[in-house]
Amino acid sequence: MKEGELESVPALETHDLSVAYHKKPVLYGVDLTIPKGQLVGIVGPNGAGKSTLIKAVMGLLPLRSGWVEVFGQPFKKTKTRVGYVPQRESVDWDFPVNVMDVVMMGRYGKLGLFRRPKKKDRDIARECLDKVKMLPFANRQISNLSGGQQQRVFLARALAQESDLYLMDEPFAGVDAATEAAIIELLKELKERGKTILVVHHDLTTAREYFDSMVLLNMRVVAFGPTEQVFTVEQLQKTYGGRLTLLSDVAGETERQLSGE
């Protein structure tokens, strides 16, 4: 936590956030206020815009409307306080780097383009690898890792960023049970240390036990709040009960007409 920052400043706040992919709206008027020190799950059906929400927060996608604030400031100013775990499939795992190289990338944000990594940075990277039990594999080329190990490398890279807010895109996808248990243990430990963690999750059976609060998402926020209040049959039916076809159709048609197609 930064000094002089008010306790009440939320870790993440979005207001009327809308995103469109190829003129099709994916997110619609998302309002979220996520306080510090929470472990929040983002749950929703396929195509609900879970990953889109995370990417939009970090400015990876152009916003159609609305704004995002991280620790009370625009993302651009708080970049170094945000850690990111992308989906595992988003990179080429045959790329010629080893595990240590990947984790060191977590330090580059703080180092900037021109400063060389110091011993301290390498020590941090090694510590983070140790936390996810991947230190013995530090010199291994990344294509020789199992899915769970690859995921843990990404997690170690995010840890090496030493951030206050972590955004994780499906960190539990395609990992073994042991890795899943290790990851959730780690997330809980981060939360204990006052970090805020947002996790995109697709498995409803484990969601309830993993997260304190939850965002049920299907193009817009269906429900947001403490798990025991939000995770109800009624709310889940609302979330998973089909897309909002009318909203999607009308919005898409409007876009097309405005762009002259």
Binding site: K55, K79, P96, M105, A138
Partner: protein
């Protein structure tokens, strides 16, 4: 145990540091190399002969003339080739790992109209005008590709093909038109099609030098940023590194590299100078910085070789020869690369098969000895053949292999076989592996006792030392296998006395029998 782990960490740590230093050293080395090239190019002019003014007759004399830096024309060619190989190799590394090989190809074809227009500017082969025209058109082509993929449903491959062919067609029209013009010095423009290193002038070399130095500086200074850009651009963007800027810088430098290499390699083939060295290097290493160094070295080598062959062939176009030299290097890498080589893999399979064969024979000899309760020294080939259910001739062939590797000796014309100490150790080891694994399968994995032999036959050859130690610990240091046969002890295996064994243990071997 704890001590061992720390040791491992230290080794790992130092190797990470080591690779960083290696990277720094190699970048230093390339700067020194560049300085040497500069000195060579600026050296005094000995005799201004053009390539192809053949004074010498034999290939050997020509090779001597080419590589001895004796005459100025050849010196320029050589320096030019080294520069373009270095430049294209470095940038090609990024092009290949980012899966942008086709983008490079499109870029190289799209520059042709720019070259023609640059030539028309003052009807002369003015390197700067040509470079500006070519770069503008190259980048314009790439921009069009991006524009097509963004605004239509067409995917990148179709857009690339479209831009490549249409720009190239326009270029050919313009070039043909220039060649038919009645005025002006037209010589040189045709060299852009297939490449002629001999056509490189001093101004071209200076331009090459500048672009290569810029590339080298950018790659060395921004290496980490470029690594992130190539591996995980979105992640890089979220950390605040200037990914867009770096991407554009790399594209611009690639365009420059293509344009300055164009005269020596030719429009049609220049992209292969980006792709082939880097693709070959990709087969040799698993780390990006090494890949870049290898690609640069291979690039320089193939460029020089290509120019040399073209010189031998009395000024045949250089481009095809460079590409053929590069292809040769690639084929060698493909066959013999230490990790992925086709030949390497065959060789590895063969040696593994031979080792398995040797170990099986040793095991059979051990079993024969064991069956007669270790009475006597030698083992007869007939007994081994009987045990293995094989012919005596086959056993004798295998024994020859053992003799060659110093694991056994034979006597009585191959009828009797004797272990050497080393051979006996190996036999004990393999029997031990076999029986430990059988025991593990029955006691821990709960296999039926009559199901385990076949599996152990395979596994015994691949169990590493660490796995054996873990098996022992898990099985609480057993001495009998599930069939009641004794498991050879470590003392048998290492062929040492009690005292030696004790000494080894105190030395931190970590093993307790």
């Amino acid at each position: 145990m704890v001590c061992g782990v720390r040791e491992g960490e230290k080794i790992m740590h130092s190797s990470v540091i080591h690779s960083y230093t290696a990277w720094r050293n190699s970048s230093l080395a390339s700067i020194v190399l560049l300085a040497a090239l500069l000195w060579l190019a600026g050296g005094e002019v000995a005799q201004a002969a053009r390539i192809g003014d053949l004074g010498e007759v034999s290939a050997w004399q020509q090779a001597l003339r080419f590589f001895s830096f004796r005459d100025a024309g050849l010196r320029l060619v050589l320096v030019g080739c080294l520069l373009l190989g270095l430049n294209c190799g470095l940038l090609g590394g990024f092009v290949v790992v980012r899966r942008m090989a086709l983008v490079g190809d499109t870029l190289s074809h799209a520059v042709l109209p720019g070259i023609a227009l640059g030539f028309l500017w003052n009807m002369d082969k003015d390197p700067v005008a040509i470079m500006v025209g070519a770069t503008v058109f190259g980048l314009f082509g790439v921009t069009v590709v991006g524009w097509i993929t963004r605004t239509t449903l067409l995917k990148q491959d179709a857009a690339l093909g479209l831009v490549l062919s249409s720009f190239y067609a326009l270029g050919i029209c313009l070039v043909t038109m220039i060649q038919r013009l009645p005025t002006g010095n037209k010589s040189g423009i045709d060299k852009f099609m297939f490449g002629q290193a001999a056509a490189l002038g001093e101004n071209d070399i200076i331009l090459m030098l500048i672009t290569t130095v810029v590339t080298l500086v950018v790659v060395v200074v921004c290496y980490r940023g470029l690594l992130v850009l190539s591996f995980d651009r979105e992640f890089g963007q979220t950390t605040g590194l200037p990914m867009h800027a770096l991407h554009h810088v790399v594209m611009l430098l690639t365009a420059f590299a293509i344009v300055v290499a164009m005269q020596a390699v030719g429009v049609v083939l220049v992209s292969s100078m980006l792709i082939i060295p880097a693709a070959s290097a990709y087969l040799l290493t698993d780390r990006l910085h090494r890949l870049l160094i290898y690609a640069a070295v291979i690039g320089m080598g193939t460029a020089v070789l290509g120019a040399f062959f073209s010189f031998l062939g009395n000024n045949l176009p250089t481009g095809p020869f460079m590409v053929l030299a590069g292809t040769g290097v690639f084929v060698i890498c493909f066959l013999f690369s230490p990790r992925y080589g086709w030949w390497t893999r065959l060789w590895r399979l063969r040696s593994r098969r031979l080792r398995t064969e040797r170990e099986d024979t040793l095991k059979a000899m051990y079993r024969v000895l064991e069956n007669r309760e270790f009475h006597g020294e030698g083992v007869s080939a007939v007994d081994v053949a009987e045990y293995r259910k094989d012919t005596v001739e086959e056993i004798q062939r295998r024994v020859q292999n053992l003799v060659k590797t110093g694991l056994a000796t034979d006597s009585e014309e191959g009828q009797m076989i004797h272990f050497t100490p080393k051979g006996y150790q190996q036999a004990c080891m393999i029997v031990r592996n076999h029986r430990l694994w059988e025991l593990y399968l029955t006691n821990v994995a709960r296999y039926a006792a009559d199901h385990v032999h076949e599996d152990a036959e395979l596994v015994e050859h691949v169990l590493g030392e660490d796995t054996v130690r873990r098996l022992e610990r898990r099985l609480k240091f057993p001495n009998k296998d599930p069939h009641g046969k004794p498991i050879p002890s470590v003392r048998d295996m290492l062929g040492m006395t009690h005292e030696e064994e004790g000494a080894k243990m105190e030395g931190g071997y970590g093993y307790r029998p």
